[in-house]
Every structure is written in structure tokens, then in C-alpha cells.
């Protein structure tokens, strides 16, 4: 989308106080923070250089030092040394985010200070907006999240016992935690094996006991894009295919719906897991491809049913 003059004015008014309080950043660093390009930021600075207060001599103009792209500073910000107030939307974003963080905080004192900060921000939002966009019960209870977060921020390896749903076993894992992602309120930990650097996903609520270990600050540089070997699976199901798509959208590569019947293609890296997902779905899912998976699924249903006779 093409940028309007207003978009530029808004960014420019934020640029001056930002650079003014954070002198010495490079043009690339600034561009990153503003979600823009170094070229665009250069243009903005050139333009801002011509702006100022009535009089418009060098005493009244904004004074920006941008000759060295590695070291930008504002030597005279005139009246623009303070950032603009937060917009309603910006405040709301922070208020809702803080609410989720408070839900996750285990330590009551910490929770209190997050809530105090939240109400400070909350007072800046109009009541109607505040009551219109809310969080009812954001995340399922996952107290261990906070400890993992600390480990992530300090680049520490963690060791935990894990109840693996796909293999139905409990064993010990030593991983390097990268990120926690919430989906449908459930926390998932993305973590790398410190030796093989393979990236795996763990459900946070299946982590039983955890200890935080040593710092490994170099691991980020050793991590490259993960290579997953994925298998392609095609399934067919009835109208509850809609719920399947919703629940497992991250593995769906394409789907078609014909008269309430769904034909879905999946890319999956864990055969153990998908086997259980299909076998436990509360209606029939027909596996079209691969054929050996279709046989396995049917065999599971047969064996399970045999137990009851």
C-alpha cells in the first residue's frame, strides 16, 4: 500500500524524539524499529532537516546529524523532544498484553506490579473502547511459562521431564528454549536440541518438572533454518472437517469442500502424533494417502474395539 503524507508526518513526529533520546543508533537500526527501510528513513531525515519553528534560521530548524549512517543524532529537537502520547489503540494493545502477562505471572507480587502498570495505562483509554475489546480468560493455566521465559531471555538451556502425547511416554529432555507460542490458549514451547540443533515443539502443560541450566549465548548463531522432513497426508471427512481445519490449521496445506464433505491435505513431521490425532477424532476420518497410514488407523480402531468384546 502506498504511503500517504499523513503516514510520513506520523513517523516523522515519532522519529525526532526517538533519535533524540537514543543518540548514536544506525540508520538500519532505526528503520527496523519503525518497520521501514533505511532509504525511507534517510528521506524522512532529509525532509525533517528543513522543518522547524517560525523564523526558520539555523536557530529554529531541527538540527539532525545524519551524514554518518552508523551514527545518527538530533542535536536540536526544538519542541519535539518528547514523544507523542499513546493512541487509544496503542494503549489498548499494551493493556491487553499486560493482562495476559498478569495471568501468567506466578509470583503474586509480580502480578500486582503488572496490574498496577496496566491500570496506569488503562486510565488513558476511553471507557467504551475499554469495555468493547476485552480478554475473558486468555490462557489456560501454565505456571511454568514464566520460568521458561526467564531461561529464554538469558539464553539458558533447560532440562525437564516431559509427558509426550505422541509416544505416550515420560522421559527427560534437555533443550534450548526459543519461543513460547500460544494457540487456542495453550502454550507451546519451541526449543532446539543443543547438540543436533533440531527444533521441536513441546506443550507447556505437559512439562512436569523443570530445571534451568547453563548459559549458551552462542546457540542463536549456530541455529539455522530448521529442516523438517514432512510427510504429505490426504484425508476425507464430513462437515466437522471445519473444526479439524480450525484446530489443526498449522499443518493444513490445502483443502476443498464439496457438499459438506472436506478433502484436506496435510504436511506433518511426526507420524506418531498424526496417527493419534486421526484415530482419536470423534468422527470417522478416511485416510486417502498414504495407504499404509490408512491401514494403521483402521487397525487401531479394530484392536481397540476388540478389547471390549
Amino acid at each position: 500500500m502506498k504511503e500517504t503524507a499523513l503516514d510520513r508526518v506520523e513517523r516523522a513526529l515519532n522519529l525526532i524524539p526517538f533519535i533524540s533520546s537514543n543518540p548514536g543508533l544506525s540508520i538500519t537500526q532505526i528503520a527496523e524499529r519503525f518497520g521501514s527501510t533505511p532509504t525511507q528513513i534517510s528521506k524522512d531525515l532529509t525532509l525533517l532537516h528543513m522543518c522547524g519553528l517560525p523564523g526558520y534560521t539555523h536557530l529554529e530548524l531541527l538540527d539532525i546529524d545524519y551524514e554518518d549512517p552508523e551514527f545518527i543524532q538530533v542535536t536540536d529537537a526544538q519542541v519535539l523532544d518528547q514523544p507523542r502520547s499513546l493512541t487509544q489503540l496503542e494503549s489498548l494493545t499494551l493493556v491487553l498484553g499486560l493482562q495476559l502477562l498478569a495471568e501468567l505471572a506466578k509470583d503474586p507480587q509480580e502480578r500486582e506490579s503488572i496490574i498496577a502498570l496496566q491500570s496506569r495505562l488503562s486510565s488513558m483509554i476511553g471507557d467504551e473502547v475499554k469495555n468493547s475489546i476485552t480478554i475473558t480468560d486468555g490462557l489456560l493455566e501454565t505456571p511454568i511459562v514464566k520460568e521458561i521465559q526467564v531461561a529464554i531471555s538469558q539464553s539458558r538451556v533447560i532440562t525437564f521431564t516431559y509427558d509426550s502425547a505422541s509416544s505416550d511416554t515420560i522421559n527427560s529432555r534437555r533443550v534450548f528454549p526459543l519461543e513460547i507460542l500460544f494457540k487456542d490458549g495453550i502454550g507451546y514451547l519451541q526449543a532446539a536440541n543443543p547438540e543436533t540443533l533440531e527444533i521441536r515443539t513441546f506443550r507447556v502443560d505437559r512439562i512436569i518438572e523443570m530445571t534451568v541450566g547453563e548459559v549458551d549465548a552462542e546457540i542463536h548463531s549456530r541455529l539455522s533454518t530448521p529442516t523438517h522432513s514432512e510427510i504429505e497426508i490426504e484425508i476425507e471427512m464430513g462437515e466437522d472437517g471445519l473444526f479439524f481445519l480450525e484446530k489443526h490449521n498449522e499443518i493444513v496445506t490445502s483443502y476443498q469442500e464439496v457438499a459438506g464433505n472436506f478433502h484436506i491435505t496435510l504436511a506433518v513431521s511426526s507420524p506418531d502424533w498424526i496417527k493419534r490425532v486421526i484415530a482419536s477424532w470423534p468422527s470417522r476420518i478416511k485416510v486417502v494417502k498414504p495407504l499404509d497410514l490408512a491401514e494403521v488407523i483402521e487397525e487401531i480402531a479394530r484392536q481397540t474395539l476388540d478389547n471390549y468384546s
Binding site: 525532509l47 496503542e90 495476559l100 475489546i133 476485552t134 529464554i152 494457540k183 493419534r276 483402521e298
Partner: protein, 308 residues
């Protein structure tokens, strides 16, 4: 052209912010760089510029130099309206705000969070505070519909969209609010056809959001509380189950109770599950045999038969 306008708007903002008294139009036209052309042109330019700054959320005060005389109106921007007013922030508070801002993956909140952080760092000079990784914690609730829904709710525009439940149908709604429940967003609003408040899962909206009409097309009912309309929040019934499970298997179910050993192959356990009990039990395939309640045993058996 666009450069000139950008420059003029910045100059105007700075001039109105710097002045300690109201500036009349005449003063603005003669002092602020960028106002050129006939009196009429300048007038039109200024009217548009005022609207533009207001659209950016910059409040312009209108008043007169001297309240005793019927003076020409003047303009200024108050520092207290314009400037960041969250007060001083401790390093711990900064880190909370940073996490809160980066939690979001939906485009609207992700970009407003990034902008909020730019302002916070401009206030605190904390742009280089130490952080590892880009986001430590994030919510996968990406929905491109969030931005139009936000607009519709805050400016009270009627909307329509296609929604999937059992069938797919077009809905016309007066959107009252959004709430997040277990990581997913729900829209509450009056269904204009059914004349009652309904709740829609945003992820099941299959079309774009169309605006039907102007701003302020409806009034939020007095005392409206979105939570009152969320049926899914009400407690779901839990059922107690007894089952035989293979030794060393069904780990997550075993965590609820102590197992009673039957023989070398089987243990017996008791556990409670909610409405997703079918998936939870079938997950373990032939490693679990449900024993009670009887009606659930029958249901599992017929479900298994349907899978063959």
C-alpha cells in the same frame, strides 16, 4: 507535492506546539512555512491540515486571545495533550511493556505494539536495552479481520460478513465488542435479522467485513457486558471415568489418580474429563479400555465401529 504537504504539517504542528498563546489564522499564514497562494487557497489548505492533524490524533485547541473581546479565533496544541504522559518507567516496567507489546501476531496489534514501544523508548532512551530473540512469547491469533472489526466497533458502523457454523450464511451485525477467550477472538453484536445479541468466533468468518452505512449507526445498549453472552465460558460438566490401562501407558490420564494394579498387563485408574472425553480416551487407542460409566462405554464402542 506530497513532500511539501508533509513539511507543512510538521511545521504547523511545531508552531502550534511552541506557542504559549493562541495563534490566529493570519499569524499562521504569515509565519508558518508552506502556506502560499491566494487567501482562499491558504484558507482551504489550513482547513484540510487541521483535519489531517486531528486524524493523526493531534488535538488542536481553538480559542481566542482575549476572552473579553469578541476576538478572532486562534489555534494551539497543548503539550499536555500532545506529549507522552505515562510518567517515569522502571527497567522492570519497561520489560513488561516490551513483552506486552510483542505478544501479538495479529497485524493491527503487532504494528500498534511496535509503535507504542517506539514512543516508550523515545521517552525512556531505552532503545538498546538488552533483549534476546525477537519475541519470547507470542499469541497465534492472526486474523486479518481484526483491523476492520476494530474500526467498526469503535466508530459504530453496521457490518455484514459470511459466517460458517453448520451452514454458511450472510450475517448483518451491529458490532458491540470483541473478547478473547482461550486464545481465540469472539465478536459479540446484535444480529439485525434475529434481533438479538449473538456471539461469533472470528476465525469462522469466511468473507471480508463489509461496512454497511455510516459511523454512529447504532448505540451500545446500556450496561452491555460481553461476558454475559459467552455461553462457552459457563462450566462444562465433568464426568468421572474408570478404565483399565496398560502398564506404563496412558501417562497423562495417570497423573490424575493412583493406579491400582490388576495383573502384569493392566492397571485400573479413575479420572475426570470434560466435553472432549472422546478424543482424550481414543488418543490412547488399544492401551485403554473404558469400564464406566456404561453409557459412555457404549458410545465409545459405536464410535469405534463407525471408524471401521
Amino acid at each position: 507535492m506530497s513532500d511539501q504537504k508533509t513539511e507543512r504539517l510538521i511545521n504547523l504542528t511545531m508552531a502550534l506546539l511552541a506557542t504559549k498563546r493562541y495563534l490566529s489564522k493570519g499569524e499562521i499564514f504569515s509565519q508558518v512555512a508552506g502556506y502560499t497562494g491566494s487567501a482562499e487557497t491558504k484558507e482551504r489548505m489550513f482547513e484540510r491540515d487541521k483535519d489531517d492533524l486531528r486524524a493523526l490524533g493531534i488535538e488542536i485547541q481553538v480559542g481566542s486571545h482575549d476572552p473579553l473581546f469578541d476576538d478572532e479565533l486562534g489555534y494551539r496544541i497543548l503539550e499536555s495533550d500532545y506529549e507522552f504522559n505515562l510518567g517515569d518507567l522502571t527497567p522492570v516496567e519497561l520489560s513488561y511493556l516490551s513483552l506486552a507489546a510483542k505478544l501479538w501476531r495479529n497485524q493491527l496489534f503487532a504494528s500498534s505494539g511496535a509503535l507504542a514501544l517506539v514512543k516508550i523508548d523515545a521517552h525512556s532512551g531505552s532503545a538498546l536495552r538488552e533483549e534476546f530473540g525477537t519475541s519470547l512469547l507470542s499469541l497465534e491469533n492472526e486474523t486479518p479481520l481484526f483491523a476492520p472489526l476494530w474500526e467498526a466497533i469503535t466508530s459504530k458502523k453496521l457490518i455484514s460478513f459470511t459466517y460458517r457454523s453448520k451452514t454458511e450464511a450472510k450475517r448483518s451485525i451491529a458490532p458491540y465488542g470483541l473478547t478473547m477467550w482461550r486464545g481465540a477472538w469472539y465478536l459479540a453484536g446484535e444480529d439485525l435479522e434475529k434481533k438479538e445479541v449473538r456471539v461469533f468466533k472470528v476465525a469462522r468468518i469466511t468473507s471480508d467485513i463489509s461496512f454497511e452505512g455510516k459511523s454512529d449507526s447504532f448505540v451500545l445498549p446500556e450496561g452491555f457486558n460481553i461476558q454475559d453472552h459467552l455461553i462457552m465460558v459457563r462450566d462444562e460438566p465433568n464426568v468421572e471415568f474408570t478404565a483399565r490401562v496398560r502398564v506404563g501407558k496412558c501417562q497423562s490420564l495417570r497423573r490424575q489418580s493412583t493406579a491400582e494394579n490388576i495383573d502384569g498387563e493392566w492397571d485400573r485408574i479413575t479420572f475426570t474429563l470434560g466435553s472432549d472425553w472422546r478424543e482424550k480416551i481414543l488418543w490412547f487407542g488399544p492401551d485403554i479400555v473404558l469400564e464406566s460409566p456404561k453409557d459412555k462405554v457404549e458410545e465409545i464402542k459405536s464410535l469405534l465401529r463407525s471408524k471401521l
